[in-house]
Subunit: 383 residues, 2 copies
């Protein structure tokens, strides 16, 4: 059915105004400290494992309440204090001039030898990346909200109309091509959608094949691929289609722990970057397949299965493991799900995996004409 | 200037008819052998280093004249004979049904235990990939010409109009997004071009930034990125824009041996897959930058340079090395160019490299507003 956008959910396209203000606020607060004769101090939420919590209500990992202090007047803090100011100023400057640099551009832009010393502002990009993440959690803004561009990889097709720089972009008009989702995808309003769900496909070649068959037209859906592990823009687009247009999200990967981990990233974000979840995670995303159970149900021949290697086994165990620091499950959404526990244990017992393409043993169109429609109409997914 | 397509160069869109015929011919030839009471034999050009030659006239690596024989009546050849027939038949079958499988789909489709034995048709995908390459050189058709889909990664923007499945695709109407170049890009006619050259950008984030500034509009060019090492479809699209529309190709990468190798792939293809060059290589592609000479000319600060690591040094040496088997330069286009030899030697002396983003030390728009226009108008490229 054609989705009509619920006006109460209509999202105003974000401008960079609030980012400009929040960045400026950092300096206003510091100036306040100085005026009031207090030592300048910044408060930064801790990005540690022990301050990463599973928010059951929102069903995703987030940062806890704990903060650290970064002080100008302390020898141990002054360097990162200086770096934070330098980088925050550069981001603000770029915004004012309507420039959208990358994190690397910002690093080189701010890198120099401090006058009168032999000290470098940054020793390497890792150092600047860490400070950048501090600024993200301090302002509560992700890099994209500050207009900072990251690498992108994803593609999308289907009956969805976007808008960018005054152009209407109809993603059903790309033939065998597709729309390349850019990093700053929040700058692109989703004007119209005529689809019942979104199918997120791990592998680009499978995405292309489904597009070639016009699977999206026959099955009234949108097709998206992150070409392997999802980049940020693809995750954000998936989340927006779910949030703004209430489309159910189904994820299709290989039957192996790496594929399940890819699903997990769409669903809940990554542990080390839990502060991003609030914009990038999509907790209602469902895992369509392939599951270990599918291998038997669809009679994948034994010689089509691949022996699991050590890193598969290691990852599978991690999916059910407890965090050493917090004592909580590392992936609560796997740990608390009876179905997921069954699947992962089945994998650990059988120690085999399978690629999506293994379905081609039953014919090249088995995936598009039988497996996917059957799974979706029977609601055979894992939450 | 608006390019009007030279009618003599107008390329009819390829259909898969000739692929169907050539694949069928394999079996017709074998049947002829049988009818004439000769042992069935296939002749397959050798894909070895010693049969890889630098074709000076075409200015690219190609396969030499030497062929191997694959015989049904020889115990050492019968397995690969069977595999070649099996795979060729599957490709033909897919073409007849208008299916466009991947190499992996074909592997699983043809994989089974041979009746009455415990022998598998293929032991693993590597084995099937090798046979697939044999079929490519035997028929003189690349996988895409046989309708076989590969992973794709590239994106394109600018004043170019494509056509696919009856849709006109205007690549100047995507705002901050881009056209995702599909694997079977030869199925997409290039209807119209209004540009003076093609700028191929190694890094996706740089591509997005240049697109954001509408560099292509201001500088009358097309922008393409392969997002790192180029995939086949991006290389093919670059080649077609050069061949069909006579657009000069300029390549922009980091100043390091890996970047120069990426240029090399666009220009001449890879050594291990030299049989692809005739469709994927673009010998007239020019290297725009960054060069080692640029680092001094544009006064990249010393602390913006990165110390070369062992694999950089190793790769740089390879670029000038002789092939152990043939005794010829491994990369004749580097070896025979005075400028390239100078650049690579300069790298090996200084042992530093630089990222494109290092230009941001001079301001976020230095790359787009100064470096690129200056380089192009001064014709400062390396051939």
């Amino acid at each position: 059915m054609k989705k009509s956008r619920d006006p109460s959910k209509a999202r105003q396209l974000e401008t960079f105004d609030s980012a400009e203000k929040k960045l400026k606020q950092i300096f206003v607060d510091l100036a306040d400290n100085v005026v009031n004769e207090k030592p300048p101090v910044m408060r930064i939420p801790l990005r540690t494992a022990s301050n990463t919590i599973f928010d059951e209500k929102r069903d995703m990992l987030t940062l806890g309440e704990r903060e650290g202090e970064r002080k100008f007047n302390e020898i141990g803090g002054v360097r990162s204090f200086m770096q934070t100011c330098l980088l925050a100023r550069a981001i603000h400057e770029a915004l004012v001039h309507d420039d959208h640099p990358t994190i690397r551009d910002l690093y080189y832009y701010t890198l120099h030898t401090i006058e009168g010393t032999e000290v470098e502002t940054f020793n390497n990009q890792d150092e600047s990346n860490t400070i950048f993440q501090d600024i993200e959690v301090m302002t509560g803004l992700l890099r994209e909200q500050m207009g900072v561009v990251a690498e992108s990889r994803g593609a999308m097709v289907g009956q969805v109309v976007l808008e960018s720089k005054g152009n209407k972009i109809d993603c059903s008009k790309f033939g065998i091509g597709a729309f390349n989702i850019p990093s700053l995808c929040d700058q692109i309003p989703i004007l119209d959608v005529d689809a019942d769900y979104v199918l997120v496909v791990e592998k680009d070649a499978i995405f292309q094949r489904l597009n070639d068959y016009e699977f999206w037209r026959k099955n009234k859906c949108l097709l998206i691929t992150g070409k392997g592990q999802a980049d940020r823009a693809t995750r954000r687009m998936v989340r927006r289609l779910n949030e703004e247009w209430e489309l159910p999200i189904y994820v299709l990967t290989d039957a192996d722990p790496f594929g399940w981990y890819i699903y997990s990233t769409y669903r809940a974000g990554s542990i080390s970057l839990s502060y991003e979840s609030f914009r990038l995670a999509c907790p209602s995303a469902k895992f369509l397949g392939m599951t270990m159970t599918d291998l038997e149900k669809y009679e994948i021949p034994k010689d089509h299965l691949i022996k699991a290697n050590d890193s598969d086994i290691k990852r599978a165990k991690e999916l059910l493991a407890m965090d050493e620091v917090t004592g909580q499950p590392r992936y609560p959404w796997f740990h608390s799900s009876k179905q997921w526990r069954k699947e992962i244990k089945l994998f650990l017992t059988r120690r085999v995996k399978a690629e999506i393409e293994a379905k081609s043993s039953k014919g090249f169109r088995f995936l598009s004409d039988v497996y996917l429609p059957e799974k979706i109409s029977n609601k055979e997914w894992i939450k």
